[in-house]
Symmetry: C2
Subunit: 151 residues, 2 copies
Amino acid sequence: MPAVAGRPCSVAGALEIIGDRWSLLIVREVIFGNHRFGEIARNTGAPRDRLAARLKALVAAGILEQREYQASPPRSDYHLTRAGRELGSVLQVLREWGDRWAVESPPVSVRHHDHELRVGSVCAVCGERVRAADIARSMRVDGWDMAGPTG
Amino acid sequence: MPAVAGRPCSVAGALEIIGDRWSLLIVREVIFGNHRFGEIARNTGAPRDRLAARLKALVAAGILEQREYQASPPRSDYHLTRAGRELGSVLQVLREWGDRWAVESPPVSVRHHDHELRVGSVCAVCGERVRAADIARSMRVDGWDMAGPTG
DNA sequence: CCCGTCAGTTTGATATGCAAACCTTGACGG
DNA sequence: CCGTCAAGGTTTGCATATCAAACTGACGGG
């Protein structure tokens, strides 16, 4: 019996960690250079108790690390680990989708050299642009195929 | 006063639409070719009432469209719109992150031509690989900069 | 007639989310 | 001293959301 219901899948696994209402916004703020509890609370709009709980969970999940920047009274801020930094590409893609479909005009400008950044997906192996037609999926775990559980 | 608290941002806007526990798993299943209520319920593990509510919301948000495949008794299935299809790249990136950080070994294999797909980000404008150091951000809305509200 | 399928809806207990107030340590001002 | 303020949370009390499981209603087959 699997630990969780539903198809075993890395997307589900990822969402288990960062798929709540505030995690990605927290990571966004840390990427933006806002490392302190108060800054993150203000800029995300998250309730303080939720934020405290999520920060704790993200530290436990290895996405953030907590650094004490003064000892007395104890004050700490939050920095990205490698796993956290790699969420940057998730945020980029999500931002582009949001720019197109969720807002009227992009509220945040992202410059790349001297032009606006627009991310595109390529296959890192062959360098080709990724198109749905060139992709084939299959399940690697017993008891599942693409249609669902086989048992 | 803004409609929602927190920084105005496309990521927040996107999460407003697909940032709940089930939406991306629903889209995943539809991409996988599972279009019916029962299939999606079984393969995501979502409770049926939540699923019904999310499907309704995703249709309203223009991510899915509902098609009646028989009239009596009325039965419909769900298909992706353009906006929904474009969530594919979000899922790809999220899957890669999950493969690296959320699971022990990738449960789903994605083949591109004759090799395993690994997505990489490039700038669609200049073609260069995207690196954090080449990126500069700024807010386009009054009252906010990268540090937070200026008011 | 009875059973099964499908797409939801209803129900009732439980968990989660929220805003706001509160706590603690210390710095600063008078 | 005394009051006030800042930071980083924690506590409280209430409202809402979520869940599993049972139910509905329209069919179709045997």
